[in-house]
């Protein structure tokens, strides 16, 4: 198994790509700490992991955009484990608006959740990983951070920021044996795309060379590969999981 007895922390693990990553990592033998805002969602993820024979999970209910709550979460992780083999930095939100309709509160909310917290969580994880001189951080970016999209100025900026942060952290942390990579999903069949109008969805599908949206499980497999030693000489990379949408 790719992640046997590896200790991993996955944020945004109650649904979508984060949940799929948790299920796949558990299938690959990992022992997991799972974080999300929704306690019910976390419990469902944990129940699915346990029902398939995965190791017991530690659940942390936290809104990553709340500094105080995030610090408490760090303390909980630190008290629970002295070892952290991988981090999947996935928690994020989507708030679409055209450029003339973006309020400052919305800008702050999206950047705080999608970028600032990602950096703060990386800082914390790196502190744990430095002691063991190894570790893998997988940040979840987006194809929108590479190509942009109408109505997604702030979201695109946050995800482009994740890519920049990933590359910079990879340079700083490589001497400590810590790898930092990003995954840039394209159109993935999760709740996040459920509200896309039919016509827009049709046009999106036409731009995907493989002609279909991806599945969260397909992203999860790439995340687990990057978290594992299968990619032990890979750092600072952005891996697109987009069916050929961005070529």
């Amino acid at each position: 198994m790719l992640l046997e007895r590896r200790v991993g922390w996955i944020t945004g693990a109650s649904r979508g790509i984060g949940k799929a990553a948790a299920l796949e990592a558990a299938r690959q033998g990992a022992e997991l700490l799972l974080l999300a805002r929704s306690e019910e969602g976390l419990r469902q993820t944990a129940a699915e992991i346990e029902s398939t024979g995965g190791a017991p999970t530690r659940l942390i209910v936290c809104d990553v955009s709340n500094d105080v709550a995030l610090k408490a979460a760090f303390k909980e992780v630190q008290q629970h484990t002295k070892k952290l083999d991988f981090l999947v930095n996935n928690a994020g939100i989507l708030r679409d608006a055209l450029i003339g309709m973006i309020g400052s509160a919305q800008i702050s909310e999206v950047l705080q959740t999608n970028l600032v917290s990602i950096i703060q969580i990386m800082q914390f994880a790196a502190r744990l990983m430095m002691n063991q001189k190894s570790g893998s951080i997988v940040n979840i970016a987006s194809i929108i951070g590479r190509s942009g999209n109408e109505g997604q100025v702030v979201y695109g900026a946050s995800k482009a920021g994740v890519i920049g942060a990933t590359k910079s952290a990879a340079r700083e942390l490589a001497p400590y044996g810590i790898r930092v990579n990003a995954v840039a999903p394209g159109v993935i069949a999760t709740n996040m795309i459920a509200n896309i109008p039919e016509q827009k969805m049709h046009s999106l599908l036409q731009s995907i060379k493989m002609g279909r949206p991806g599945k969260p499980e397909e992203v999860a497999k790439v995340i687990c590969m990057l978290a594992s030693d299968y990619t032990s000489y890979v750092t600072g990379q952005v891996v697109g999981v987009d069916g050929g949408m961005w070529l």
Partner: protein, 80 residues
């Protein structure tokens, strides 16, 4: 020398990759060879782990010398 002082020396030695005998009061961020911004993170990781604490970001930034480390650790209930 108190037990905390010994642990502090060991944490600095491990974090900055220095021989323990070279750890002393004169160590300063950016002027001690090897104590750069990246090594600083390793030092913080070493202090966190040695004293079983989690330093706040403001303290991480403030920790600019060996003496300052002692002062900051006091805030976390570490007595010297």
């Amino acid at each position: 020398m108190s037990e905390s002082e010994i642990k502090l020396r060991q944490a600095f030695a491990a974090g900055l990759n220095l021989p323990e005998q070279e750890v002393n009061e004169s160590l300063q961020y950016a002027s001690t060879p090897g104590w750069d911004s990246v090594a600083h993170m390793a030092l913080i990781a070493s202090l966190d782990s040695t004293f079983d604490i989690m330093m706040d970001t403001d303290d991480v930034i403030d920790l600019s010398s060996y003496a300052k480390a002692r002062e900051i650790l006091n805030k976390y209930g570490i007595q010297f």
